[in-house]
Symmetry: C2
Subunit: 158 residues, 2 copies
């Protein structure tokens, strides 16, 4: 079984390469980017303006390798690909929770950006408090890097 997907739009981002991009958008929250949907999908954004956040699913177009285990940026130990957020994963789907700034026609402006310019968008979903936000979350190997709620030093790719 093979599944064929078609891009629904593209992301315009100030990050032209991985250098200087934060590992997650919340670490550089002031940066703004936007999704430009194909014209026929503009109507699909109706109602999203009432949400504070969205989930963007996209294609890691810069990765052409598939690793079963990898070393995450924050540390030197290897982990399974399903325990890290590396782009070098089966099917190369990326996921970001972003803060919605504005919606104008077929454009969705957002902050909390961790996506490269030119990234192909596969889907946008509303981020819903009642089932996407969980309490008592334990975050595996990441917890030791965020002691006392502080962001770690290595959050910006250099």
């Amino acid at each position: 079984m093979r599944i064929i997907m078609n891009p629904i739009g593209v992301i315009h981002s100030p990050y032209k390469e991985a250098k200087d991009m934060p590992i997650q958008g919340t670490f550089k929250p002031e940066v703004e980017a936007w999704v430009e949907l194909k014209a026929e999908y503009g109507r699909g954004l109706a109602g999203l303006e009432g949400f504070s956040h969205a989930i963007i699913l996209y294609y890691f177009h810069k990765s052409n390798t598939e690793q079963i285990q990898g070393r995450p940026f924050l540390e030197d130990q290897m982990h399974g690909i399903f325990a890290i957020r590396s782009p070098h994963r089966p099917n190369h789907i990326g996921l970001s929770v972003v803060r919605i700034c504005a919606i104008e026609g077929n454009k969705l402006y957002f902050r909390e950006v961790d996506v490269l310019d030119g990234t192909v968008v596969l889907d946008i979903k509303p981020y819903v408090k009642y089932f996407d936000v969980r309490d008592n979350v334990v975050s595996g190997w990441l917890d030791k890097h965020f002691k006392d709620g502080r962001a770690p030093d290595r959050t910006i790719v250099k």
Copy 2:
């Protein structure tokens, strides 16, 4: 540009059809299901056992229509497809946050299930407190259905 994806595994769920399935797994939290990954991907789960939750991305294999607007189950008004979680969406990618129960070999057992038996899995990601959980979330048209933090009456498909 067309993107080809390959299933990495399948979900075994007690829900054989949409009837009696909750609209989101948190509304029937005691139900258990599991992902059975293809054998070669079992090593990719290493390290995920330290997380309380995972994000499963899957293919809505029962939908063969693409709607730009739709009526969500909870209400009678139409919204853009990117403001609802309907399966009848471009590229038919589904997303569920689930509670991890156990990992054994190439199997991931989980609760908070809202996925049909036989659903094809595209990716699994660790759910990370530091960038997947957001504060001050506003949930658009859904908020009026969850007044005072209570789940609405229409959370089980009948």
